[in-house]
């Protein structure tokens, strides 16, 4: 009985008992979720436009952050480093299109999926080879990002919000808004949306498929860079972040592979869910459940909606 109690009752008692901690946990989860959502967003962009399940999306984030920090370490001024990193991400998009997508077009999905595994390894190897494998600190202040925290004495305790987290939430929201505008209002954006539905239709807009791929991968690269900066600021920059990047996968699955709102909602659910889970239920089993809780949440959702929360219903035709 005590077992049942400790799972189903006690955590909620704790939540109500210490609302400040609850708010703090929710906030942490929210910020984490926003960042998950950003990674997932880059993923959805690519999946929609080129049908590639881009496993390397998380690594692109780390790679971007590492490039930025690494360049700065080598003496490049922060904003020049930022510009150069954007350039590198563009070069990456070009290279991916030339080297991977073009030769493998029309291959089964699993093959493209595997190719992005290969890309993951290349990016890890390349990044570490050039910039070294030791963890680095994000150049937060150089990029004029705030640091420190805002503390609120409220709810019978202390709620502490890191400024960088607030910035991250704002920047993430801005990016989503900009992307939404880009998709809705620009010719290229409309073409990108069209290509998701129908390649021919996209061609009729006057943009070649190759160009679309480059643009999409570049966009995803930019999103990755932004995410990388935020996440790097919260911890540090190394390929250990890969594990975090993998969290984008349950986010995606939860949201449905093709849905941008799905990616955002999924990110928030996973982010908040795993923080709550870790904080309130984790101690029951010795902690550290954050490493797998996200996947279980996604799995649980999938069992009821195999296409994810926002995915289109699959009607099998024969």
């Amino acid at each position: 009985m005590s077992f049942v109690y400790s799972i189903f009752v006690d955590p909620f008692v704790q939540m109500i008992g210490a609302p400040d901690l609850l708010v703090q946990t929710l906030w942490e989860g929210l910020v984490g979720g926003v960042l998950y959502a950003l990674i997932a967003l880059g993923f959805v962009l690519i999946f929609k436009a080129s049908g590639v399940f881009n496993f390397a999306q998380g690594i692109m984030m780390v790679f971007a952050a590492l490039t930025l920090v690494g360049l700065h370490e080598k003496g490049v001024p922060a904003f020049l480093a930022l510009a150069l990193t954007i350039l590198v991400m563009f070069a990456l998009a070009l290279a991916v299109e030339r080297v991977i997508l073009r030769p493998l077009v029309n291959q089964p999905d699993i093959i493209l999926f595997m190719a992005t595994f290969g890309l993951t390894y290349v990016l890890i190897g390349l990044g570490e080879l050039v910039f070294g494998g030791n963890p680095k600190n994000m150049i937060t202040s150089e990029l004029l990002l705030p640091s420190g925290s805002l503390d609120f004495k409220t709810l019978g305790g202390l709620v502490s919000l890191q400024k960088i987290d607030i910035a991250a939430a704002i920047i993430a929201s801005l990016m989503v808004a900009v992307l939404a505008l880009f998709f809705q209002k620009t010719r290229i954006g409309r073409a990108l949306r069209a290509v998701a539905d129908d390649h021919q239709a996209a061609l009729s807009v006057g943009i070649s498929l190759d160009q679309i791929w480059v643009i999409v991968w570049f966009t995803a690269g930019l999103v990755a860079l932004a995410t990388g900066i935020m996440w790097g600021a919260r911890s540090n920059v190394s390929f250990a972040l890969e594990i975090i990047a993998l969290k984008a996968l349950p986010v995606l699955i939860l949201g449905g592979l093709t849905s941008v709102p799905g990616a955002i909602v999924g990110g928030l659910i996973i982010g908040i869910g795993e923080k709550l889970g870790e904080f309130y239920w984790g101690p029951l089993v010795g902690g550290g459940i954050e490493s797998w809780l996200a996947y279980f949440i996604a799995l649980a959702v999938l069992l009821f909606r195999p296409q994810g929360l926002f995915g289109e219903k699959i009607i099998e035709r024969i």
């Binding site: 219903k313 009607i315 099998e316 024969i318």
Partner: protein, 267 residues
């Protein structure tokens, strides 16, 4: 040929399958509306109709792949609302597909052998050993499959991976796989789609032979009206999910509603 001796055609004319007032819709789109018809043992029954008439959906309902929202299906005397596809298979319903649904990574022979799965019973552990009982069983079924290969005249491609075969032959292999199940009711979804004249003639001959030699009841969908009229004993005509005619080829041919449907008269 010994295959034929296995299932002698029983009292032709007895009802094998009865579809009553079946309706099916997908998220508001009604694919089949209140359709009823029957299939008698030993006959060749055609389901025809313009594109989107609900023909394939009808087959999917019959073999349990779709579950109708309303109506009843009586098969071999047992009435049911819904059935799982593997149950349908176990009860002797076999099926070919509009777009060839072969196992592309396997050879012709393996595809046909797969059709015998339900009749192979040697346990997993015998399979691990393979030699002995499992292989003997495998050989028994290989013999049966070879009869089908002989029947369909596909000896030459026995060991070719099906993915490399021309379309017409793939359709034949698919028919072979369905026959390997020794079905009581064989559902053929556009068996002659995309074939040239000669291939169509071959396929027609095979369908008639299957019906005659094995006594298999056949329900088929086909676009080539000429072929349908020649092959089938009775025809159901669907249009926009409704049944608009049902009868012998001659009756259907002269039915005004059918003529209208095929000429595209607006409803």
């Amino acid at each position: 040929m010994s295959v034929a001796a296995v299932e002698p055609a029983t009292a032709a004319g007895e009802t094998l399958l009865k579809v009553e007032n079946v309706s099916l819709s997908f998220g508001g789109v009604r694919a089949i509306r209140d359709v009823s018809f029957d299939i008698r043992r030993g006959e060749i029954r055609a389901i025809i109709g313009p594109n989107g008439a609900g023909k394939t959906s009808m087959l999917n309902v019959i073999n349990g792949f779709y579950h109708p929202q309303a109506g009843r299906i009586t098969y071999k005397g047992a009435t049911r609302r819904r059935m799982r596809p593997h149950q349908a298979a176990a009860q002797g319903v076999a099926r070919t597909f509009q777009n060839v649904a072969l196992f592309k990574g396997m050879t012709t022979l393996d595809n046909i052998l797969t059709g015998r799965t339900l009749r192979m019973h040697k346990s997993f552990f015998w399979q691990l050993w393979r030699y002995g009982p499992a292989l003997n069983e495998e050989i028994e079924h290989r013999k049966y499959c070879e009869e089908i290969i002989d029947f369909l005249e596909i000896e030459r491609i026995r060991k070719e991976p099906v993915g490399r075969l021309p379309y017409g032959l793939q359709k034949r292999v698919e028919l072979g796989r369905a026959l390997a199940m020794q079905p009581d009711l064989l559902l053929l979804d556009e068996p002659m789609a995309g074939m040239n004249l000669e291939e169509k003639e071959d396929m027609s001959r095979f369908i008639l032979d299957v019906n005659a030699e094995f006594g298999t009841t056949i329900a088929l969908i086909e676009h080539d009206i000429g072929v349908v009229m020649d092959l089938s004993d009775r025809i159901v005509v669907l249009d926009y999910g409704n049944k608009i005619a049902d009868g012998k080829p001659d009756e259907v041919r002269s039915d005004q509603k059918v003529i209208d449907a095929y000429l595209g008269v607006v409803h």
